[in-house]
Amino acid sequence: MTMASETGLPICTPDMSVGTLSAMKAVFVRDLKIALRQPQDLLNPLLFFVMVVTLFPLGVSPEVSFLREAGSGILWVAALLSVLLSLDHLFRHDFDDGTLEQLVLQPQPLFLLVLAKSLAHWVLTGLPLVLLAPVLGVMVHLEGNSIAVLCLTLLIGTPVLSLIGSIGAALTLGLRSAGVLLSLLIIPLYIPVLIFGTGTVMAASEGAPVGGQLALMGAFLVLALTLAPFASAAALRISLSNS
């Protein structure tokens, strides 16, 4: 028996015989398919990313020396903000049409399903940001080596943003003015990633070795991968019992 949501896609069978991995895969694929049916929603965070980056040369200074120095920070802050902006979508639709409650009732561990959802969110928002970053890197006059390191830090860092963000999205689910509250809760938790993300690029632009810092960011990623799904699964249960 397959359950069909509003979108007509099977969620996953409420049946012990479905392995956890295939359930995760089903959730992941479902989220991708739904998102691809609404390409505008995918494009919006990217447009936001580009626009925020555009504001800095216009608002502060278009000088090459300034942009080269501040570029990595500008790109990181813009990426952080656009991930933050897209987080509201992570659980919202599933919450509204009742899919989320079905997900919670599945026999498979909820935190793994949440992990699959967070990864899908990263593929839909974080990954496009990483792919777009080199273009914007050139526009803020970063050097080739710095751009490569920037993309690498974004590649490691944006999944952390999605994972931590899923906790905030789960906590604020169904609340009034959830968007502002979400930013308020999550931004302090993003600070370490931001610091190491920009710091690594700066070190690279000065020609210093960056292996250690990248490894530390990798450690952040592992930590977020292991802990964040538990917290957001707990938060989801709380938010659902509330409504």
């Binding site: 509250l181 308020l184 809760l185 302090p188 938790l189 802990l227 019992s241």
Partner: protein
């Protein structure tokens, strides 16, 4: 042992204990704190490097110390809320958060004012000040989430999850801010770190830290009692208590 634990969870029992403790907490706390700062202000010798401005230490360090340990206490209470569903633990988290936020702000403010004569500027993105600022954001987040969810039970548990997520992040934030600081400015003069502080300085400091701890205890008890009165308004013992009391 378990009986004590269950008793601890009972608001009525806590109310009685808190009422008995509060005069002591306030009296001893104020006495210790005032002794500490009067000693520090009037009798402690002048610092050879910073002159008299170092006398801010006697309120800066207690505030900063309390600001951090209040968050840790809240995290312990949050764990208790999630594991044992103890109502009293949530009452503590809710009552302590605004006090913690005020103390964090005070630590920031006194740090900034101290920075003026020491560094020649009101604000420096110093590692300690910056991580204090982030701690203040965490406190605000906890308070905002608690206010946003109207249902008492889910509010308690959601806040508990947030506090725990925050406490996991505090060491990471502290470490990364320190690393960031060394990246941007090579070892500046640190406010509170002294190779060797004479006893005339650290004894009053210790007194004021202890005193502020007790004053916080009093304030937390007071606020928890208020919260209990509001939540348990329908129970018999609260009704009797309210009737018996003059004010």
């Amino acid at each position: 042992m378990w009986q004590i634990f269950h008793k601890l969870g009972s608001p009525k029992w806590f109310f009685g204990i808190a009422s008995a403790l509060m005069p002591w907490l306030l009296g001893i706390g104020v006495a210790l704190f005032m002794t500490g700062i009067v000693w520090g202000l009037v009798f402690a010798p002048q610092d050879y490097l910073q002159g008299n401005s170092y006398r801010i230490i006697f309120i800066h360090v207690p505030s900063a110390f309390l600001a951090q340990s209040v968050y840790i206490m809240m995290a312990v209470a949050a764990l208790v809320t999630l594991v044992w569903r103890m109502k009293l633990a949530d009452v503590f988290v809710r009552s302590a958060a605004p006090v913690g936020a005020v103390l964090t702000f005070l630590a920031l403010f006194t740090g900034a004012v101290w920075g003026k004569p020491t560094w020649g500027t009101w604000w420096i993105w110093d590692a300690r000040l910056t991580s204090m600022l982030i701690l203040l954001f965490l406190y605000f987040g906890v308070m905002a989430l608690g206010a946003a969810i109207s249902d008492e039970k889910s509010s308690a548990r959601a806040v508990a999850v947030l506090v725990l997520v925050g406490v996991v992040n505090i060491p990471i934030i502290k470490y990364s801010v320190e690393w960031w600081n060394t990246l941007h400015q090579p070892a500046t003069f640190k406010l509170t770190e002294k190779p060797s502080m004479p006893a005339e300085m650290w004894v009053p400091l210790l007194l004021s830290v202890l005193g502020l701890y007790l004053i916080f205890g009093w304030l937390a008890c007071l606020r928890m009692q208020t919260d209990i009165l509001a939540r348990e308004g329908r129970t018999r013992w609260v009704k009797e208590l309210v009737q018996a009391r003059g004010n």
